[in-house]
C-alpha cells in the first residue's frame, strides 16, 4: 500500500484491479484546507487516462509488477520468444509488443514488465539497426535527406527513407517514433 504522501510522477499504482502509471502530479493545498494530490494516470494495459485527486489519508494499492531482463530469440507465429537469464523461454503475444515487434533483433537485450505474471510491456533499445529489404532503386549521387521514399524491412514494416538509401543498406530506426534516423552501413 502506498499512502498519498508517497505519490509522485512516474509511480505505478493499482486502481480497480488495473495497473496505472502517474503521468502528472500536483500537490495542492487550498488555504487552511487539507493536502490534495491531483494526479493524471495512464492505464498500463489499455493506455486510457484517468484524473484522480487523492487526499492525505487515502491509501493506494501497489501493483504486483516485476521486470525481467531478457534477450530476443525468434518470432513464433503470433508470439515473439525471449530468453531470460535462467535460459527460460518467455513468449509474448505480438499485440503486447505493438510496433516494437518489428524492431526486435536476435540476441538483443530487452526488458519485459509483468503485471500479475502477465507480460504487459516490452522495452527495447531506443535505436535499432535493420536491413532494408525492399525499396525503389535510389538516385545515384542524390544525398538530399529531405526527399523521402517508401521502404520495407524484413518484417514487412514500412517506413520512409531518403532517396540515396538502397535495398540491402543497414539503417538506424528510432523505436519511439518508428522513423528512419540515419544509414548505418551501405550494402
Amino acid at each position: 500500500m502506498y499512502s498519498a504522501a508517497d505519490l509522485r510522477k512516474g509511480l505505478k499504482v493499482e486502481i480497480d484491479e488495473n495497473p496505472y502509471e502517474i503521468t502528472e502530479f500536483n500537490f495542492v493545498k487550498p488555504g487552511k484546507g487539507q493536502s490534495l494530490y491531483v494526479c493524471k494516470l495512464k492505464n498500463m494495459l489499455t493506455g486510457s487516462t484517468l484524473a484522480r485527486t487523492f487526499r492525505a489519508n487515502d491509501k493506494v494499492e501497489q501493483p504486483a509488477l516485476e521486470e525481467k531482463n531478457v534477450v530476443y530469440s525468434y518470432a513464433e507465429g503470433s508470439d515473439s520468444d525471449f530468453m531470460d537469464r535462467n535460459f527460460e523461454q518467455i513468449s509474448v503475444p505480438n499485440e503486447v509488443l505493438g510496433r516494437n515487434r518489428h524492431f526486435l533483433v536476435e540476441e538483443q537485450e530487452a526488458n519485459i514488465l509483468f503485471y500479475n505474471d502477465r507480460a504487459i510491456e516490452v522495452r527495447i533499445p531506443t535505436f535499432v539497426e535493420k536491413v532494408i529489404t525492399e525499396t525503389e532503386p535510389g538516385a545515384r549521387g542524390n544525398t538530399a535527406t529531405n526527399v523521402m521514399k517508401p521502404a520495407k524491412i524484413e518484417s514487412g514494416y514500412e517506413l520512409n527513407v531518403p532517396l540515396f538509401v538502397n535495398q540491402g543498406d543497414l539503417v538506424r530506426i528510432d523505436t519511439r517514433t518508428g522513423e528512419y534516423v540515419d544509414r548505418a552501413r551501405k550494402s
Partner: protein, 307 residues
C-alpha cells in the same frame, strides 16, 4: 549530475529572482516603517505550535519549528504593540509542490483596532509599492496574463463564488470534504487571472482564527487574495474571545487525533493573552509566491535557489 552541480545550476537560474527578492524585502520594510509599524522577530522554535486542522509542524528535539508567527504576534498586540510586522521563515511538514515548499518566507502584519477590510487596503497599497519598487511598474505579466495591480480588484463572497462556480452554497449547508474538493477543482480555476480576486466571508466552519461577523454569525471575517490564480494572502478579523478560541482548538485537536495525526498542546500563555488583546486584523502573505508573480514564474522551482 552531482548534487552540487544541480544546486549550482539552480542558483544561477534563480539569480534574477534572488535579486528581485532582495529588492522586495527592502520595499516591504519601507512600506511598513513609513506607516508606523515596528518590525519584530518572534521565536522560530516553539514549545506550542498553532493548532490548525491541516497544518503540520516540523518537530525538533526541543520543540517545534513555527508554522506561522501568528500566536507570538498576537501576544505582542495583547501587550500593547499596535502595529507590528514580521518577515521570516516558516515551516510546514510535508508541503512540497509548485506553490509549496516545506520552508518558506512568510510576511505577517497586525493592526490593533483595524478591521479585516482595512488590512485589505493595506495589502493593495503594499503589493503595488513592492511591484513599483522592484519592476518600476504596477503592471505585471504572469504567463498569458497582464495584470494591473493598481486596477480593479474583484471582491466576491465565498457564498457567491461557490453558488456561481460549484452550484451550491457552503454557508447554508457546509460539507468539509466537498468544500475543499470543489474549491480546488471548480472555484479556484474559475477565478479571474487577469485581475486580483478577493474571496471573503468564509463559512464559520472554516473560520480558523477569524472572528465571526457580528451581524452574520454564519460567516467569518476572513479573506483570501488570489493574483494570477495564485493564492497569495490570507487575512482575519482576529478572534479575541478566549472561550470560543478554546472550543475551536479543542475541536481541532479531537479531529487531528481521530485522523491519527499528532495533536499539539494549547499554548496557555496565548489563551491568557487573548483575553487582553484589542480588536485587530492581520494578514499573512507568501513572499515567495509574490516573487513568482513579479518574475513571471509558474513554480517555486524558478525562484528558490535552495529547493
Amino acid at each position: 549530475m552531482s548534487n552540487w552541480k544541480k544546486t549550482r545550476d539552480r542558483m544561477a537560474a534563480t539569480r534574477p529572482a534572488v535579486e528581485a527578492k532582495s529588492e522586495m524585502l527592502r520595499a516591504i520594510r519601507g512600506y511598513f516603517l513609513d506607516n508606523g509599524f515596528t518590525e519584530v522577530e518572534t521565536p522560530v522554535l516553539l514549545e506550542f505550535p498553532a493548532l490548525e486542522l491541516n497544518i503540520d509542524a516540523e518537530r525538533t528535539s526541543s520543540g517545534y519549528l513555527r508554522t506561522s508567527p501568528e500566536l507570538a504576534m498576537k501576544k505582542l498586540l495583547a501587550a500593547g504593540y499596535e502595529r507590528v510586522f514580521e518577515v521570516g521563515p516558516c515551516f510546514r511538514r510535508g508541503e512540497r509542490g509548485a506553490l509549496h515548499n516545506p520552508e518558506y518566507t512568510m510576511l505577517e502584519w497586525y493592526r490593533a483596532h483595524a478591521g479585516y477590510m482595512d488590512v485589505l487596503a493595506d495589502t493593495r497599497t503594499l503589493i503595488c509599492r513592492i511591484s513599483q519598487d522592484v519592476l518600476g511598474s504596477t503592471r505585471i505579466t504572469h504567463g498569458k496574463n497582464e495584470i494591473e495591480l493598481d486596477g480593479d480588484w474583484e471582491t466576491m463572497t465565498v457564498a457567491e463564488a461557490f453558488t456561481r462556480f460549484a452550484g451550491w452554497n457552503p454557508v447554508v449547508a457546509f460539507d468539509q470534504e466537498r468544500f475543499e474538493l470543489d474549491l480546488v477543482s471548480k472555484v479556484e480555476p474559475a477565478l479571474s487571472k487577469e485581475r486580483p480576486v478577493v474571496l471573503m466571508d468564509y463559512p464559520a466552519d472554516v473560520a480558523a482564527l477569524a472572528r465571526l461577523k457580528p451581524d452574520n454569525k454564519s460567516v467569518a471575517e476572513r479573506w483570501e487574495l488570489y493574483v494570477g490564480g495564485v493564492e497569495l494572502a490570507n487575512a482575519f478579523g482576529e478572534l479575541t474571545d478566549p472561550e470560543e478560541q478554546r472550543v475551536r482548538f479543542d475541536i481541532c485537536s479531537v479531529e487531528r487525533v481521530s485522523q491519527g495525526r499528532e495533536s499539539y498542546s494549547i499554548d496557555e500563555e496565548f489563551m491568557e493573552a487573548l483575553g487582553e488583546m484589542p480588536p485587530a486584523a492581520g494578514v499573512a502573505l507568501g513572499v515567495d509566491r509574490l516573487l513568482m508573480l513579479l518574475t513571471d514564474s509558474q513554480s517555486l522551482d524558478d525562484v528558490l535557489p535552495f529547493r
